[in-house]
Chain length 513, copies 2
């Protein structure tokens, strides 16, 4: 298209990383807080998170999982135990050592040396250990199983290099933790959570994902099997947007989670854990955003329709506002995607065009601009965010009779949800490459000048141990990682690209966030 | 009543404090976590909090307030500033000093001396300071006002003596923070929040409260005026269940929250803050609980109706479960208190009577016990939790035709909500005493053997400074505090009980949590 003056100052093509930051800032989703690695999530970003929480929580509850809340602080000793038996245990955590401040005599405050904790407390990086301890208290017999718990909480992992939503020291997430009588039941739950994440991403985020098992080297430390959903960003990189782990009995062993079975014997539980976080919002930005800012899928949009009255600070404003308020009510009485439409009438002072572009950058699915003439003629003027520009480079307004628009508004909202999914899926599928048969071809495919051209599907022999490590290093040299083996993968064909042994499954290889 | 064998081992009369702990434990609401002062909130307790959040959040959003999320950590320097200008600034806080653990060479972990933070971070005791800093960034002109923000979060205040829900080191709350152009607009918001809390308590928690202004000595440090809602517990003590503060311009001055007014002049904003916390759950327990455990008001009950099939592990179970499932669906299709009924079919293994008493202790409003004969006869057997016992000391079952019960279930649920409120209000009103004219009478009224007989309404002259401090000390000797001056108080009469000067308003004096 020609002569379009986009709303952002950076395009995706020019600098994807700078564009990402620009979307977040221009859509007023989040900002740096002044505390290293911690962000302030502003109303539009937090409103999207609230929508994600609501829709995910419904699915979690529908599966019979109950929400709990566990303490923010975990005694240091809980981690000593874990550090012993888990290789790859991460130690970058926030450590609380004092419980009081005292004046330093120079107008400042310092930690009070008299108030040093006997045992330091760790700000939870995950609640695995405390939830394990609770499960050990709560479970006595087979009647108590399965025990299905979930927590919505903030967690902290000290990160050296942070990016808003994608990797922050503090982030918001949900962590499901479940205990089962046997492997089979635990695996059913592990895969149920994975499928919940997959369908949630596709249906609510309009974000196509590959659900599958991670290779051995990418497993959660201590897990028997780790599954993920992987989404393709517009720069071709992969984003792991959710994980589900089958933990076998090792976590139960460490925490003492045992039950008496129907025969009266003591047995260890099989446990699982699964989580998604505010990282998903980073995925939504990089899957749906364009050079005019964010485009929010209607299912997670805090407002699906914004009505912008063209106020003129004169006598006509009252009638215009009355018309808009009636329009708002008529729209809010409709339902789309199983819920009443979320419609906002933006009466705030300010120029209408400025307000239009603010909403465009925020990515609200539908914007209705209403002037005095629209009101008099019972019309609306509609901008559909995912079809913002006409071929001639002008904004794609369409004028329509009010009643006709009200009648089709819900269908239009649902269509935007659908269209975003179709668009993202087509792009994802177009950027998955098959038929790479050698390492040389793989190297060629990801040559620097091609700038992350997407994902490659490879046949491999699923090497383990040192043989796997060799593969991991070969990929690392190309800045690549194995994402996962999709659940619905076609059977393997031919020989392994790395080992030349007969292939046993297919994997996706990509650059990743 | 005679010969009742109550479900709890401790009665309110025997030991109110022990009874409180027993309710929490027997209703499986919460438990100690192993971390001093932090609790694990179990599904029934957390489910009640989720209901409180949902209903409160609807009211907050309806007032045009937008939710945000601010960082868990606050740099120490933010507090140095506050400690300077706020007298009574509390310094009991969790202090993060390190960001990594390291092996101590003896199989344990210690904070890594190499990873000491340059500036310690404080785990937020409230987000006042960071929200103030954000407001200073976000507000430029009168067009940006009012700025209405709220946060749902965990906060930490190091407490020496803790009690679950009432006073814990970590607790969950919402904190509203708003900025306005002038005093008038800020006062309207302060009182709007107070009224929101009052009506929420009465309507959703069925908990009658007195909304009013706190005396000068009970103001939030730095506030110009502090308002509270005060509820009477069954032991006659008061619980402050929510506060709303008008902060004047002093917080804006400290944080630099300024705006350009319509004339182009810079001016300081007037700010407010308001909050309620998981403490409300402690109030619900002590207002509605009885010697059989909790009684949850239906508006905040995670399940309003529990269906208990009397399973017999035989061939009849399938038909019984089918009957119960159909009953569940028929009930869930009804609405009470503006929402679909929340109905749970408890199919878990276990003895039906044990399960009944577990639900009685949890306080679910209606329990339906369904045996094979009920199913065959299209009947239900109903227990209404707030009318648990018959005069003869037996459980107050009533058998009823299924269709008749389904038809009136929603009304019954609404009636329980109403009855709990009526009962609590009658008890509260019966325990407010008027006509105490002297300090001697006050002393006599609160004599030890009377065991906290309620609240006393006094006429007083609203002394300030040293004169107020004298009153505070006189009351302290009687273990009493001034709760508030209710908004709808009758005019003052006669002379002040303390100063003998002409009274200017009425106050409530009580023992308190």
């Amino acid at each position: 298209m020609t002569n379009i003056r986009h709303a952002l100052s950076v395009t995706r093509d020019a600098d994807f990383a700078a564009w990402y930051q620009d979307v977040i800032s221009e859509a007023e989703m989040a900002e740096e807080s002044g505390v290293r690695g911690c962000m302030v999530i502003r109303p539009w970003g937090y409103g999207i998170w609230e929508r994600i929480q609501k829709l995910m929580d419904e699915r979690i509850k529908a599966a019979g999982v109950e929400n709990c809340y566990f303490p923010l602080f975990i005694p240091l000793s809980y981690f000593s135990k874990e550090a012993e038996h888990v290789e790859g245990f991460a130690k970058e955590m926030a450590v609380v050592t004092h419980h009081r401040l005292i004046a330093d005599g120079k107008g400042g405050l310092v930690p009070d040396p008299e108030a040093k904790l006997e045992e330091p407390l760790i700000v939870r990086p995950t609640s695995e250990t405390v939830i394990g301890a609770a499960m050990a208290r709560w479970i006595q017999s087979w009647r108590d199983l399965p025990l299905l718990t979930n927590q919505w909480a903030n967690v902290v992992r000290w990160e050296m290099r942070t990016r808003m939503f994608l990797r922050t020291s503090e982030f918001l997430w949900q962590e499901g933790h479940t205990a089962h009588a046997d492997r089979e039941d635990a695996m059913v739950e592990t895969l149920r959570a994975l499928e919940m994440y997959r369908s949630f991403s596709e249906e609510c985020l309009a974000m196509p994902v590959m659900a599958g098992e991670k290779p051995e080297n990418e497993r959660f430390p201590g897990a028997v099997a780790t599954y993920s959903i992987e989404a393709m960003m517009q720069d071709g990189k992969a984003l792991q947007a959710g994980t589900s782990h089958y933990l076998g009995t090792s976590f139960a062993d460490a925490a003492g989670i045992r039950y008496q079975d129907r025969e009266g014997q003591q047995a260890l539980c099989h446990t699982t854990s699964w989580g998604v976080s505010t990282r998903m919002i980073g995925g939504v930005i990089m899957v749906h955003g364009d050079d005019d800012g964010l485009r929010v899928p209607p299912a997670i949009a805090p407002h699906q329709i914004v009505i912008l009255p063209m106020l003129r600070d004169d006598d006509g404003d009252a009638a215009l506002l009355a018309y808009c308020e009636e329009l708002r009510k008529a729209l809010a009485a409709q339902s789309a995607l199983g819920e009443p439409l979320r419609v906002m009438l933006d009466k705030r002072p300010g120029k209408a065009t400025q307000k239009r572009w603010a909403w465009v950058k925020k990515g609200v699915p539908l914007i209705l601009e209403i002037g005095g003439r629209d009101a008099a003629g019972e019309q609306v003027s509609v901008i559909r965010r995912d079809r913002l520009w006409r071929e001639d480079g002008k904004v794609n307004f369409s004028a329509e009779a009010r009643d006709s628009f009200v009648a089709r508004a819900a269908a239009e909202v649902a269509d935007i949800q659908h269209s975003l999914h179709v668009e993202a899926t087509a792009r994802r599928d177009a950027n998955i490459h098959r038929g790479v048969g050698t390492l040389a071809e793989l190297t060629e495919f990801f040559a620097e000048e091609k700038r992350y051209p997407g994902w490659v599907e490879l046949n491999w022999s699923r090497p383990t141990g040192d043989a796997l490590e060799t593969v991991v290093q070969q990929l690392k040299a190309l800045k690549l990682t194995i994402r996962n083996t999709p659940m619905d993968s076609a059977p393997a064909e031919g020989n392994c690209v790395f080992t030349d042994a007969p292939a046993v499954e297919r994997i996706f290889v990509a650059r990743a966030y």
